[in-house]
């Protein structure tokens, strides 16, 4: 290759990510690093510059991994290129974390000096170690009066098993210790391991998103060779060929460059309209002089939690379809498919990475697209072994095959790690036990317990996280990883109104809790369904067997006492209103049930 562009030599590059629990000050620390390296002037600093969306800033969480290039002049007089990847801290976004980690050689482990190690930190550190990362431990928030640097270090050693003797104390808020941290990044973290500027272009497609000005923006990490403006590139797995029209980096402002070289991170654009054309983990190479073998890439994200969204107002259905499409533009991990429910009308079955992901998508749809949604109860993917030897995956309880054709049902399990102050341990053990958990380990680090439990995922999607937080007054932290499928005595619980099943309320539960759930739902519906002319029978059933029942008694009297010449118009208006109200009702047998009753029943998990 002629005319080699000038890029940083490998040994002057450091690529690293930041691992931290929510609220441990990761984004603030990142802000401070950016500011110290002159990436932004003081006046340009909005808090947490890397968290781009409103929801990210409001909730104090990072959803999409962001990357920023810093120029740091070290004590040795050399100007280093630091590529910082901010990573999501939440369990649902482990997938995003793994991507970030794969594109770096080192990590900063941020621990809050007032709190210590939390469950998610643990999982992410192990992932970093799996990626052969060097780790610099950072004890953050040392400006706070309640900070205890030694305790935080001790926890890192006890819980994680890392040497914390050289941990860097600092404060992202005040800036104390930031210089030491920058120096540690340069001296303790390794440069990119390999990178051949003469080899054919080989770059990892780390992430992509849609930008209304630039079209699809691709975040890349170059391994070998260069990415240059005007170059014809090939996406090796997707097979598509494109021409690069822009090359650049984030400082965090967008800055255009001529090229990206070995070991560097940055972005390219290539007149791509749809994010679906860019597969995260794909290898980008030169179209004319391609590399031989693509990089390993990533496992595609697998939706773990499913629920359906229905528009409260059915006329919003098309708007919901459009909005989901727009959200998906920037979030390839969202899956959706149209479905129709007798109780709720037309809607979409959606797949999410986890519960928080689900909540965030719902919030975006409601806030950014002004939609009023009814979410159904979250569910997981079951594997059904049929008597004929076939195995089918069940995404929606409604599609459960006939019981006589089922040999067994398997449900997904998780391995959960829970860190909790001692005083709340009893309550949490009870919760895990109630949710069919199997204890695997219980250890202590200071006055905090670390619990490891195997739990069925379907017990976790049903308000587990909320219960955990309320039992521990918010002090427990929780992380999980998938841990295979296991056979269990699972049944489909149907709710019937006047003998007709209400599809939106069907759920799959363990036989041992079916009766309790069924009774709870029947009682709730009894409160929610207004009395009318006919008696209404509400039943919970497993197959043909009724396990709970309630009746809404019939209304015995409703007649206007006085109705003379002047009342005809008024009465007719009332009749028309009743008729219109019927349009929002769903017919079960001979009665009309207001949709609102089902919506309220679906919110049952809330209390």
């Amino acid at each position: 290759m002629k005319n080699k562009p000038e890029t940083k030599p490998l040994e002057h590059i450091r690529n690293f990510s930041i691992i931290a629990h929510i609220d441990h000050g990761k984004s603030t620390l990142a802000d401070r690093l950016i500011q110290s390296c002159g990436g932004l002037e003081e006046r340009e600093m909005s808090e947490q510059v890397l968290d781009n969306t409103d929801i990210e800033r409001e909730r104090g969480i990072t959803i999409k991994a962001q990357t920023v290039r810093l120029a740091y002049k070290a004590k040795d007089g050399i100007e280093y290129q630091l590529n910082l990847m901010d990573t999501p801290g939440h369990v649902d976004f482990t997938y995003e974390v793994s991507r970030s980690l794969a594109s770096c050689e080192g990590s900063l482990l941020v621990v809050d000096a007032t709190q210590g190690v939390e469950a998610q930190t643990l999982a992410n550190v192990y992932q970093a170690l799996d990626n052969n990362h060097e780790i610099v431990t950072v004890v953050n928030k040392i400006d706070l009066p309640s900070s205890d640097i030694e305790n935080a270090k001790q926890q890192v050693e006890d819980v994680i098993g890392l040497d914390a003797s050289e941990a860097v104390p600092c404060s992202g808020k005040t800036g104390i210790g930031i210089d030491n941290l920058l120096e540690a990044i340069v001296t303790k973290l390794p440069p990119p391991h390999k990178g051949d500027s003469d080899a054919p272009t080989k770059a990892l497609l780390v992430d992509s998103w849609y930008d209304s000005y630039l079209g699809v923006v691709i975040l890349v990490r170059v391994i070998d060779g260069y990415l240059k403006k005007g170059q014809k590139i090939k996406f090796m797995r997707a097979g598509a060929t494109r021409e690069i029209d822009r090359v650049g980096m984030f400082t965090p402002k967008k800055v255009m460059l001529d090229a990206l070289g070995p070991g560097e991170m940055g972005f390219i654009t290539a007149s791509i309209k749809e994010i679906s054309e860019t597969r995260v983990g794909d290898t980008i190479t030169d179209d004319k002089y391609p590399c031989d073998t693509p990089l390993d890439g990533f496992k595609p994200s697998v939706p773990m939690v499913f629920c359906s969204f229905y528009p409260v107002d059915q006329s919003d259905f098309e708007k919901l379809r459009d909005s989901l499409g727009k959200v998906q533009l920037n979030d390839a991990s969202l899956h959706f498919e149209m479905e129709s429910s007798q109780a709720l009308g037309l809607g979409f079955r959606c797949g999410f990475l986890g519960l928080l992901h689900m909540e965030i998508i719902q919030e975006r749809l409601e806030r950014e697209f002004d939609l009023d949604l009814i979410p159904t109860a979250p569910s997981v993917v079951y594997k059904i072994n049929m008597t004929n030897g076939e195995q089918i995956e069940l995404y929606n309880p409604v599609d459960m095959p006939d019981v006589v054709k089922i040999k067994s049902i398997e449900e997904p399990w998780i391995k959960a790690t829970i860190m909790v102050p001692d005083e709340y341990l009893g309550g949490l053990l009870q919760l895990c036990q109630d949710r069919r958990g199997v204890q695997e380990n219980l250890t202590y680090a200071g006055d905090r317990a670390m619990l490891v439990y195997r739990l069925p995922l379907n017990e976790v999607v049903f308000d587990f996280y909320d219960r955990l937080k309320s039992i521990s007054k918010g002090y427990a932290s929780f992380d999980y990883e998938l841990d295979g499928y296991g056979e269990n005595d699972l049944v489909k619980l149907d709710i019937r109104v006047n003998d007709e099943p209400v599809d939106a309320l069907a759920m799959i539960v363990h036989r041992s809790v079916a009766e309790g759930r069924g009774r709870q739902l029947c009682e709730r519906l009894k409160e929610l369904i207004p009395r009318q002319m006919f008696k209404i029978a509400i039943q919970a059933a497993i197959g043909g067997k009724i396990i709970a029942r309630e009746n809404v008694s019939a209304m015995r009297k409703d007649v206007t006492a006085k109705c003379y010449g002047g009342d005809v118009s008024r009465k007719k208006k009332l009749l028309e209103k009743q008729k219109k109200g019927k349009a929002k009702m769903r017919q079960y047998g001979n009665v009309d049930i207001p949709q609102s009753a089902f919506i309220a029943a679906l919110k049952m998990g809330d209390n």
């Binding site: 002319m533 015995r556 109705c563 010449g565 002047g566």
Partner: protein, 380 residues
């Protein structure tokens, strides 16, 4: 040619009752001459459009029309007789309150042409009359009933029941007494709390309770039993009469016949010579109504053409209130015939050779039955 009934609304009362949501105003200085001129003008206005129709009933309602000077009623009746042919058997009803001063005018009203009196008694004991905010006591009520019976051949009075804290037993006794006092007709209304009334607020605040629907149904059934045995069966949801004593004017409403509504807020249903059916409503505010009539001859503020479905729905709404039921031929296209079977199987209605009537159990549920039975406008 279709017969015609005429309703006059007199919008004034001496005081306002806390349960009443009618178009009623308290005004001590009513300009009688102006009102007289307005009523007569409105009549003349309609007479031009609906020439030659035979008037079968006239009704003075309100408000408290017994507060009118009897000669005003006389002038109105005389004007009707000048403008239209009037049936020999015409029924002319006046609503009255049983206060002493009004009772003294009964004879003068008969002189003016009134031949039926409807008295707002409401209760036969002082405590309940006071709760209902009535201006009379039980003694005045009994005196008014006696006077009315001696003056008028046809006479009715109203009671309100299912009052707060009223027991079935107490109502049974009161009702038996009422049956003895009655002269062929009684109107018995269960107390309902309407929006925009003082009772609405009191009820919302929990200051009193109404019987729940099961108890209310027991009250209703008890009423049917007692008055049936006393020879005053219900002919409509809330109206009872010995055979031949039914209110002819009110039957026009329930048969969905033609009537003119004259006076503030009065409604009318009237068929034009080219068979278009109109719903009319006079201007609601008394002063506005007067101005309206003075400027354009009549007070009809709205005139709406009723669609076939409107007429079908209204006809069913009114007709099914009658215990004799209806012939469904004119309504067939507006009725969900499957619903008839379902309702009949519950014992709420009887259907036989095109004739549909509700049972007492069905009457109790009429408001729920109507939307179930009547097809949507788009499906009819």
């Amino acid at each position: 040619m279709l017969p015609l009934s005429i309703y006059f609304h007199w919008p004034f009362c001496a005081s306002k009752c806390p349960y009443c949501d009618f178009n009623v105003h308290v005004n001590d200085a009513v300009d009688i001459a102006r009102w007289r001129a307005a009523y007569l003008s409105a009549l003349r206005h309609y007479a031009r459009g609906y020439v030659g129709r035979k008037v079968t009933s006239i009704f003075f309602g309100g408000g408290t029309p017994s507060l009118m000077p009897p000669d005003l009623a006389a002038d109105i009746i005389a004007e009707v007789r000048t403008l239209w042919p009037v049936d020999d058997d015409v029924e002319i009803t006046l609503e009255a309150n049983p206060t002493s001063s009004e009772r003294q005018k009964f004879a003068a009203f008969k002189q003016a042409g009134i031949n039926r009196l409807s008295l707002g008694v409401q209760a036969l004991n002082d405590a309940d009359l006071s709760f209902l905010g009535r201006a009379h006591d039980a003694g005045q009520a009994l005196a008014a009933i006696e006077t009315a019976k001696s003056v008028f051949d046809r006479f009715s009075f109203d009671l309100i029941y299912a009052r707060p804290d009223q027991s079935l037993k107490a109502w049974e006794e009161e009702l038996k007494r009422a049956a003895e006092l009655a002269a062929g007709h009684l109107s018995l209304y269960q107390l309902t709390v309407e929006r925009n009334t003082p009772f609405y607020l009191k009820h919302a605040r929990g200051e009193f309770y109404l019987p729940e629907d099961g108890m209310a149904a027991d009250f209703y059934m008890l009423t049917q039993d007692i008055l049936g045995a006393a020879g005053l069966p219900a002919y409509e949801v809330s109206n009872h009469a010995a055979p031949g004593h039914e209110s002819r004017h009110n039957l026009v409403y329930w048969h969905y016949g033609d009537y003119l509504g004259i006076g503030p807020g009065a409604h009318g249903r009237i068929t034009s010579h080219n068979k278009v059916r109109y719903a009319t409503r006079d201007h609601y505010a008394p002063e506005k109504w007067l101005q309206w009539v003075e400027e354009r001859g009549a007070g009809a503020h709205e005139m709406e053409v009723l669609s076939d479905w409107d007429q079908g729905a209204e006809g069913l709404m009114m007709g099914l209130r009658l215990y004799q039921g209806i012939n469904i031929a004119p309504f067939r296209q507006f009725i969900d015939l499957k619903a008839i079977d379902r309702l009949a199987s519950e014992g709420w209605l009887c259907y036989d050779e095109g004739h549909l009537k509700l049972t007492p159990d069905g009457m109790l549920r009429l408001n729920m039955i109507l939307p179930y039975l009547i097809k949507d406008e788009t499906d009819a």
